[in-house]
Amino acid sequence: MAKITLEHITKTFGKKTALKDVSLCVEDGEFLVLFGPAGAGKTTLLNMIAGIDDPDSGNIWFDDTPMNFVEPSNRDVAMVFENYALYPQMPVYDNIASPLRSRKHRTDEAGIRKEVERVAAITGMSEYLERRPSQLSNGQRQRVALCRALVRNPNVFLLDEPIAHLDAKLRNAMRKELKLMQKNLDCTSIYVTHDFTEAMSLGDRIAVIRDGEILQVGTNEEVYYRPAWEFVARLFGECEINMIPARIEKRNGRLWAVTRWEGVEFPVPVDVERSLGDVAEVDLGCRTPALAFSREPAAGYVRGSVYSVEPLGNKTELIVDVQGDLIRFIIPVDTKFGIDETVYIGLNPEHIIFFDQKTEAFLACHGEETGTEV
């Protein structure tokens, strides 16, 4: 096990900057998820830690040892690649055994057999040890790649989108299996993904990365309930968060948020007021709990019409056209709406996340310290 410290890592490929001054600390034994859209620099960062790529500037430390000039094979790092990178000419057994047969980690054949069978049992691959990678399904190949990385108890365990190529159902099952395996894993792990469900489920902490910059590092509840940027807020949640622009006005000593929808205005919650400062233009980040709907007109509600209704089995996604803005939220499955039906939309201020409209940075939200709903 090792604590990984990255200091001011910068990397460019030709003219393109892949990583900009990235500093990150992964605690000993922690499971950290690197999360971001495609092309954000996640894999590059992982390659730096593994030693496959070298940073242009900046330092990498494992505990107190500088790693910049250490060969990949001497870093005691195991990695699962996005495309699995199995050895096609070898059966599964030899694939898994290969790290233990290298000069670095040489083990006698009896020891190898014991270890291979141990990891194969964890991942349920015991019956497939004689097969070749070409005879396996993608899910099984992925498990072989996992076994090969696990077989030698590495210091650091790196996973690069290991389940991204599986179909939805298998991905769901594998995610839970990984989560169950996590507790038996005593090494520092970094997991790269672009799927927010994986990130929230697996990560002790999540580092959100965009265009080579780390935007926020925090637990799943922190990034969900207290996203540091609008961009982070947009990434989390099945139904994308709605950003409703609003003005902040002072009335009778209280601050009011006034949206451009007529009649939709409310006094800002007291604990939010303090953090708003003198920002005049805000974006109201509204997920489903922050939105209320009604079939009848009501005070503080604005009229909209149903743009689209998408039943999703156990819930329904409703898209409402409010004066040209499309608002998305989830309604219970037993609430039926027809397309073009009139619906009135209101806001629940205590669930709204306030962002600065100009900088798109987080300002405040109600009940900030816990993050859970009140």
Partner: protein, 374 residues
């Protein structure tokens, strides 16, 4: 008169280049398919790869010969008509746009082939471009468009000749998550506006449920169930349909009926834990019977207090935003429970659950046929 699209005893077997031996073993790509699609409805043909859904679509379009059976449009048998005379618009998954032409010319292409007068073409292209929100793109080349834009143009091209039936072959499968969600809403909206009979072929159950009025679930060329999304979701005909529909997927567990001191009947799960049998099943089960039990993760509630159906030890807790999930390991499989309040559980906690008896399904273990209460 309504022009319903009717598939009557449709069979398809692919050619084997005259090799007799293979022809006998060659499975039916489509086997005895009967479907009636009302004019103006949105029907989805859903199934895993190789289930015959695309073959069916291609037979309707006339791109594939019919081995046996016929297709009717209203009263007219269209089985032997040339594709161009069937008045069917088809949008392929991989766009199949003509790269050297502009968007405008791509959309106008089939009208020019039909020698429609120039003014008429112009009017219709602009009209459909407006519906599909590609007006600004009309003069640009196809190669520069994003995936979502290409698919819009693709659908516009299929719609411009005012087809009686619009066929969509996996229209969203090449798009990334966000774009897919947006275009899904657009397609739903589009169907509401043009009211053209639409058939969507997809392997993504979420797409089918959210878009279609009726869903036909297929497996290995055989129709499994045809019904509204609600019926398919809440009243599956067999274990295949039950397991295929729903995200997160339905829990399917092998159970044995035992007699229990307090409950009279109970299901014994693989690890020996017991689940109370809803009374409605008493008349169809006997002690010692083996079933596959299906419960959706959302049909299970975690309760406090005396009245419960089963008690388990928590193995897995996931925070997934608005939803949270608890996993319970039962031998090799995982019983998954999804809820959306803000309770938290830790590994090792004891929980009591109640199952919604209306949404608990039993299936025959061998055939997968549904066992219904009498």
């Amino acid at each position: 008169m309504a022009e319903n699209l009717v598939l009557k005893n449709l069979y398809k077997k692919y050619d084997t280049n005259g090799k007799k031996k293979q022809a006998k073993e060659q499975p039916w790509a489509v086997h005895d398919l009967n479907l009636e699609m009302e004019q103006g409805t949105f029907v989805s043909i859903l199934g895993p790869s190789g289930c015959g859904k695309s073959t069916t679509l291609r037979m309707i379009a006339g791109l594939e010969s019919i081995t046996q059976g016929s297709i009717f449009m209203g009263e007219q048998d269209i089985s032997s008509l040339h594709p161009k005379d069937r008045n069917i618009g088809l949008a392929f998954e991989d766009y199949a746009l003509y790269p050297p032409l502009t968007v405008y010319e791509n959309i106008a292409f089939c009208l020019r082939a039909k020698k429609v007068p120039g003014e008429e073409i112009d009017r219709r292209v602009r009209e459909i471009a407006k519906t599909m929100k590609v007006e600004e793109l009309l003069d640009s080349k196809v190669s520069g468009l994003s995936g979502g834009q290409k698919q819009r143009v693709n659908i516009a091209r299929a719609l411009v000749r005012h087809p009686k039936v619009l066929l969509l072959d996996e229209p969203l499968s090449h798009l990334d998550g966000k774009m897919r969600q947006i275009l899904r809403g657009e397609i739903k909206r589009l169907h509401h506006e043009i009211k053209c009979t639409t058939i969507l072929v997809t392997h993504d159950q979420m797409e089918a449920i959210s878009l279609a009025d009726y869903i036909a679930v297929m497996k290995l060329g055989v129709l499994q169930q045809y019904g509204t999304p609600d019926e398919i979701y809440n009243d599956p005909a067999n274990a295949f349909v039950a397991g295929f529909i729903g995200d997160p997927p339905m829990n399917l567990l092998r159970v044995k009926v035992v007699e229990d001191a307090s409950y009279t009947y109970a299901f014994e799960l693989g690890d020996g834990s017991l689940l109370r049998v809803p009374e409605k099943f008493y008349r169809v089960i006997h002690t010692g019977d083996v079933f596959d039990l299906g419960i959706r993760p959302t049909s299970i509630t975690i309760v406090e207090g005396e009245e419960y159906d089963a008690r388990f030890k928590v193995d897995l807790f996931e925070f997934l935003g608005e939803e949270r999930s608890v996993g319970i390991q039962i031998n090799e499989s995982l019983l998954n429970i999804v809820y959306n309040d803000n309770r938290r559980f830790a590994e090792g906690d004891i929980i009591h659950i109640r199952v919604n008896p209306d949404l608990l399904f039993l299936f025959e273990p061998e055939s997968g046929e549904r066992v219904r209460p009498r």
